[in-house]
């Protein structure tokens, strides 16, 4: 019995100690509750009534009239009535809200999910745009702007009825303007053209802003050579047999029959590719102006060749008895000059066999090559300058590190 008592005692003590070290365990991982920054933001009211919230810039002015109006308020004892006509003589028209008595406001925690909201009505007429700019001004005087647009208007309109409008805070592009969001002083209003409106109940409200500003550029950066050019028909221009037979796509050129390529013609056709461009141009024919063709570097989007252009050359083959006189033009989307050009000369021609020539044009041999904007290249254009019959094929941008003026060496 004694033993039993001891046994019970030991177990009781053990149990007691173990109870002491027992802890509550949650069934699920705990989620730390974040406090909504909007709830703790102390400066939600920007303008409610004249005696509660301050407005500056109300002095009499020949081009504007800003008064507290007590008739037909949206709420409270009065509202703002703003009336202006920005003629040539009045340079800047506006006013502002002291907003929390000019205390420094940190908008950064609430910026992404808040908006300025207010009530507005016009004195006359219906508006889908307002000639009013709003700016957040920081303590260094820097300001970023936004305005009311149709998406922020109740029913897409401002008229004589009190309407709610919102300006989402993310529409203020503060980064671009270098505005310090954590040290905002005031909200300023700039008046453009002319207007006559009533404003009331201006405040910061929670707002779910779902729009994005993407960084898409339509630019493809090319870092390595070679680059195959003009291999898809749909991007070419200048080849239209309905109007001229000077240029034709062909899939039975000498080049395709040679050992250089083992791709079947049918396969090429399916891929919207072709083997060569067949040219039969006469400066005597009626369609003599139909003397150019071209294709883009990058599907008519922008090609950034800035990393490689200086060590590259345009290369293609001419199948003919002789190489025709031809001008090659490199065109950029932006910048000045917009294009640079070169007429093929003797040093650019390499004879491969009796009827095949390789043309190599080092970029550095093209006049003003360093002035064109190689980050935004658009197209390559070819202009035939004399009567000629030939095939052109295998357009590439290839590596070239030799003497640009003597590529043969």
């Amino acid at each position: 019995m004694k033993n039993l008592n001891r046994y019970i005692l030991v177990w009781s003590v053990l149990l007691l100690f173990s109870c002491d070290s027992m802890k509550t365990v949650n069934l699920y991982d705990s989620v730390e509750k974040k406090e909504d920054p909007f709830l703790t933001f102390p400066y939600k009211d920007i303008f409610t009534d004249s005696d509660k919230t301050g407005v500056f810039g109300m002095k009499a002015h020949p081009c504007k009239e800003i008064v507290f109006d007590a008739i037909n308020n949206f709420s409270g004892k009065d509202h703002l009535h703003i009336k202006w006509n920005k003629t040539k003589d009045c340079k800047w028209l506006g006013f502002g809200f002291k907003w929390g008595d000019f205390k420094s406001k940190d908008l950064s925690p609430i910026f992404e999910n808040s908006a300025i909201e207010f009530m507005i009505r016009s004195n006359a007429g219906e508006f889908s745009t307002l000639p009013i700019l709003f700016s957040l001004v920081d303590y260094s005087g820097k300001q970023c702007f936004s305005k009311v647009n149709i998406l922020g208007m109740e029913d897409g309109v401002v008229d004589q009825k009190w309407r709610k409008v919102v300006i989402p805070l993310p529409t203020f592009k503060y980064e671009k303007k270098g505005v310090n969001l954590s040290n905002i002083k005031e909200l300023r209003v700039q008046l453009m053209k002319k207007g006559d409106f009533h404003l009331d109940d201006i405040k910061i409200v929670p707002y779910s802003y779902s729009y994005v500003v993407s960084s898409e550029t339509f630019t493809k950066k090319f870092n390595t050579l070679p680059i195959t050019l003009g291999n898809e028909k749909k991007y070419w221009w200048g080849v239209n047999e309905n109007y001229s037979s000077n240029f034709k796509f062909t899939s039975n050129s000498n080049s395709i029959n040679s050992n250089e390529s083992n791709i079947s013609k049918d396969f090429l056709s399916e891929l919207d590719v072709f083997s060569s461009l067949s040219v039969d141009y006469s400066s005597q024919k009626e369609d003599k102006k139909w003397n150019s063709f071209g294709f883009p570097f990058n599907k008519w989007e922008l090609a950034d060749l800035s990393e490689i252009y200086s060590t590259s050359a345009l290369s293609f083959k001419i199948i003919s008895e002789k190489v025709p006189k031809m001008k090659i033009i490199f065109i950029s989307y932006l910048g000045k000059p917009r294009n640079i050009s070169k007429i093929i000369s003797e040093e650019n021609i390499f004879k491969i066999d009796e009827k095949t020539f390789e043309i190599i044009i080092p970029i550095k041999s093209v006049k003003n090559y360093d002035l064109i904007n190689w980050s935004n290249m658009k197209e390559l254009r070819f202009k035939i300058l004399e009567s000629s019959i030939f095939e052109a094929v295998d357009f590439n941008l290839v590596e070239f590190k030799g003497n640009p003026n003597k590529p043969k060496n």
Binding site: S128, T129, N149, I150, L151, G152, G156, P168, P170, T171, Y209, Y211, V212, V213, S214, S215, E216, T217, F218, T219, Y235, W237, G238, N240, N242, Y243, S244, K289, W290, S292, F293, G294, P296, W300, E301, L302, Y333, L334, N376, K378, E379
Partner: protein, 424 residues
């Protein structure tokens, strides 16, 4: 009482139904010979002017349509209706070159919503003939998303307004633009092309760049300042009104009228006045409101006959014997003689005026607003019927002297020549 209610209903409904009944049904017909615009099932070749005023003169000169660039001044539609002119109504689409960011979804969406609202408001206007969605949004651009906006607007028009074709207007022809519009904007029916010097290749380019639908020459005239030669100090050389008038006539005959397969007509630029490098470059009117000989030319183009009374025509202008293409450099206060030769065009009485302005050197393009310089006071020493001797300013700088000649009904011609004043 019932009778009164009926009368009230008739009065309320009548104006609305009247406007609806006048809405034109405009379509494009394609045949073996090409494209044709049909207005209420009748062939309608556009003889148009880019204009915001002087509509009566468009009508009198044989024009039938005007083009406006935005829908902000919808009263212009009513004015056009008064003169039985149709309107190519521009829907202003923001341009990247003026700061619009097509990567900003909020801005893009709000622009589209605003435009949709305007379309709904104006779609049944009786003078509307077609929609011009955007003007030169492609100029100096690199964000091709703008074409998605153009398509969304065009698609919306197709949905709410089956009566009027859609067009987008580009700054000059280019294979990349044609490719983009074909790829992104299948709801565009007509390509509008603003072509000045490049009008001479427009017919062939529209075909070799692969545009398969019809087109309208939405702005054309003389070569623009952006295409002009500049002198040693960068002042643009503007041809005389006479030279420009001849150029307009040739361009209309050779390049617009000649393309009866794909071209549905044209809008000359500009049936009015604006500052674009100079106050007289594109305007077919002067800032005084006087019409120039370009207006006569358009009557000849549209009606096939010259007006009974024609404007005089200045063909040549010289400074101290040197022609308008030269660099004219003088010293302060130097006496200089301006020579000008003109065709009287059977006018008995002609009146001359001379004006001096500082050079502007504007680098703006695409029709963006430019500030007009203020007129300068200068000393005129002597004047004959084709010369004027004057003292150049007593201040170093770049100037431009203008000569205006008009007849008794204010039909005018103008020419100018830039010069530079240096110290001794």
């Amino acid at each position: 009482m019932k009778f009164l209610i009926r009368i009230l209903i008739v009065f309320l409904v009548f104006p609305y139904s009247s406007a609806i009944s006048q809405t034109s049904k405009v379509s494009i017909e394609e045949s073996e010979t090409g494209f044709q615009l049909l207005k209420d099932n009748q062939p309608y070749y556009i003889k148009g002017a880019g204009a915001k005023s002087n509509f009566q003169k468009v009508k009198e000169s044989g024009g039938n349509s005007i083009r406006i660039w935005s829908s902000n001044k919808s009263n212009l539609l009513d004015s056009a209706l008064k003169y039985d002119l149709s309107v190519c109504l521009g829907i202003w689409v923001a341009q990247e070159r003026n700061g619009f960011d097509y990567n900003d979804e909020y801005k893009v969406k709000s622009q589209i919503e605003l435009i949709k609202k305007k379309i709904v408001k104006l779609k049944d206007h009786p003078s509307l003939i077609l929609w011009g969605i955007g003007n030169e949004v492609d100029l100096k651009y690199s964000n091709f998303k703008v074409w998605e906006t153009i398509e969304e607007i065009a698609k919306f028009i197709k949905k709410v307004d089956p009566n009027h074709p859609t067009m987008t207007v580009i700054a000059g022809l280019d294979p990349s633009k044609v490719f983009m519009i074909k790829k992104y904007c299948p709801s565009i029916d007509i390509l509008g092309i603003n072509v000045y010097g490049s009008i001479v290749n427009a017919n062939i380019n529209i075909r070799r760049y692969g545009w398969e639908k019809p087109y309208i020459v939405t702005e054309w005239g003389v070569n623009g300042p952006f295409e002009a030669k500049v002198n040693a100090w960068g002042a643009k050389i503007e041809p005389t009104n006479g030279v420009k008038a001849n150029q307009r006539l040739k361009r209309y005959k050779d390049f617009i009228e000649a393309d009866n397969e794909k071209c549905l007509g044209s809008y000359c630029f500009l049936w009015g006045q604006k500052q674009e490098s100079t106050a007289t470059w594109h305007g077919m009117y002067l800032s005084s409101g006087n019409p120039t000989e370009a207006v006569d030319v358009m009557q000849y183009c549209w009606k096939g006959e010259w007006p009974e009374k024609r404007a005089p025509s200045i063909m040549k202008i010289k400074l101290n014997g040197g022609n308008w293409m030269r660099n004219h450099v003088f010293v302060k206060n130097e006496e200089v003689t301006l020579d000008f030769s003109y065709d009287r065009n059977s006018n008995d009485s002609l009146y001359f005026d001379f004006q001096l302005y500082p050079e502007t050197f504007s680098t703006k393009g695409g029709g963006d607003k430019q500030k007009s310089p203020d007129k300068l006071v200068f000393e005129k020493i002597k004047q004959t019927n084709n010369t004027m001797t004057f003292k150049v300013p007593n201040k170093k700088g770049f100037y431009r002297i203008f000569v205006f000649v008009k007849n008794e009904i204010n039909q005018s011609s103008v020419a100018n020549i830039p010069f530079k004043v240096e110290s001794l």
